[in-house]
Amino acid sequence: MEVEVIKGLKFQKKQDVAIVGAGMTSFKRRLNETGRELNYYAVRQALEEAGLTIDDVEIVVLGSAPDAFDGVHMKEEYLSDGAGGFDRPYMRYFVGGGTAVFAPIAGYFHVASGLADVCLVVCEEKMSSCHPHPQSAFKYIWDFFLDRPLKPNLIWIFALEMRRYMHVNNVKHEDIALVSVKNKANALDHPCSHVAEKITVEDVLNSEPMALPVRRLDVSPPSDGAAALVMVAAHKARHLTDEPVWVTGVGWSLDTTWWTNRDLYYPRYAAESAKMAYKMAHITDPRKQIDVVEPYDPFDYKELHHLEGLGFAKKGEAPILTKEGVTQRDGDLPVCPSGGLLGVGNPISAAMGVKACEIYWQLSYRAGKRQVAKEVSTGLCQAWGDLMQISTVMIMSNKR
């Protein structure tokens, strides 16, 4: 059955929204700092870049994934001090891994609605607190009755999705492995990276099997980390900088919980979320109109899967883009120039640091060694999560 089209949106926002500062901590398997301290580092850096102090912040948005990682119930309350949430309106959003881009989307509507002019968006994840392994927390994401009795590991669903993608589109593992090779190499230029290294396709194909077809080097490593963004109204942005980066489109979409009832080869939720964002940003041909992309890449096949869902390639053709080098940093459509989750690390929601923050840095030409070769004006970041259900998309532009 055809999924119904999202109803026409009106887009009569109160004010335009710009990003003027971003910050992130190191992404490492285990950091000594508590979640609060990580938040503090990220926030301090973002405010420093924006040229603001915490007193200028009117409202705070926190994005953080399962409480089970930190081992704290209602962790937004626990994390509030480091995030700058004391003595101001403070709210947490959580859409699984999709939080990495949903938190900035929430920041967007906090400002666009006119409720606040300066909004601080903070994302935190402290996965290492969970024992024996961060994956243990994922035991509790499954359906109580249908899945949990089978004692599933998190990787299963992705392995199933990857196999389906490979089968339907006739894609080979070596074509997918190229993504891991590219992203891990890109990450060599990222100061916060966790597992940046020069590897080859053979390394990926010969790495330790986890849940085949997923092997160790197909997966991004669990990490601790935090990231922050400063989002402001247009009139504030004018005071702060000559080169703000504007948010021109947002979109998100959540698919059914019955994940075993969907054909996993194509992410229709990503397509729907992109449709919403493209409509808002007046984008009709993403491949031509968007210059740099940061799709969510916790697994190498996911980058390809998402590129197809977002409309950058036809179904099954994203591997060709990768093979031809189009998605390299000096290519025509740089994808994950930061190194992505595969290279920098995957602290679930704090992946905002390599998604939304990276697009902001790329569009303001401040990504340093990671800066893509081509001239950029519009960028897209995307995140994904839950039971392979949700996609969140944000489009930014350095032209208003």
């Binding site: 000594n32 590991n153 199933l160 999705e161 089968h167 099997p209 601790d224 009832n261």
Partner: protein, 176 residues
Amino acid sequence: MAVGKRKIECPLYAEGTAVSEEDIKTRKVTHYEDHPDIRYSWTAGQAISRFLNGLKEGKILGVKCDGCKRIMVPPRMFCELCYKPIDGWVELKDTGTILTYSISYIDPDARPLPKPIVVALIQIDGASQNMAIMHLIGEIEPEKVYVGMRVKAVWKPENEREGSVTDIKYWKPLEG
């Protein structure tokens, strides 16, 4: 106040002190351990209860919706696409087709399993396109599993069934 200088390279600096697993074990890093005891007893609800009771009797039950004409499994009380109550129950076959599979080497805590297991999405015969459940595959070498393979449920003996998805031990290749 002015930012936006092109020369600044971001992120400004990488903060955070990396520690290793070893540091925790040897208590080089100060930490506090907690083993929360939080227990739940989830009510299965009407649809899933009936499904689980069906398994106890050796039947796989699905539901149908006259709106979108789908026959769905796992069953639900309402069709999520048409957003209306379902229009009845159907008994499905205990055979199916593998839509996708994985050979898993790790347990839920990411520890290695003694022997890899095969997990698959099995489209149940009698249900609509893509109506699958996740389950295990047995009685076959992992390398020999393929997408499109026909499989049949292997049930636990009747007296051992308890109304759980594990009442089906696993699915085995359907000969012929």
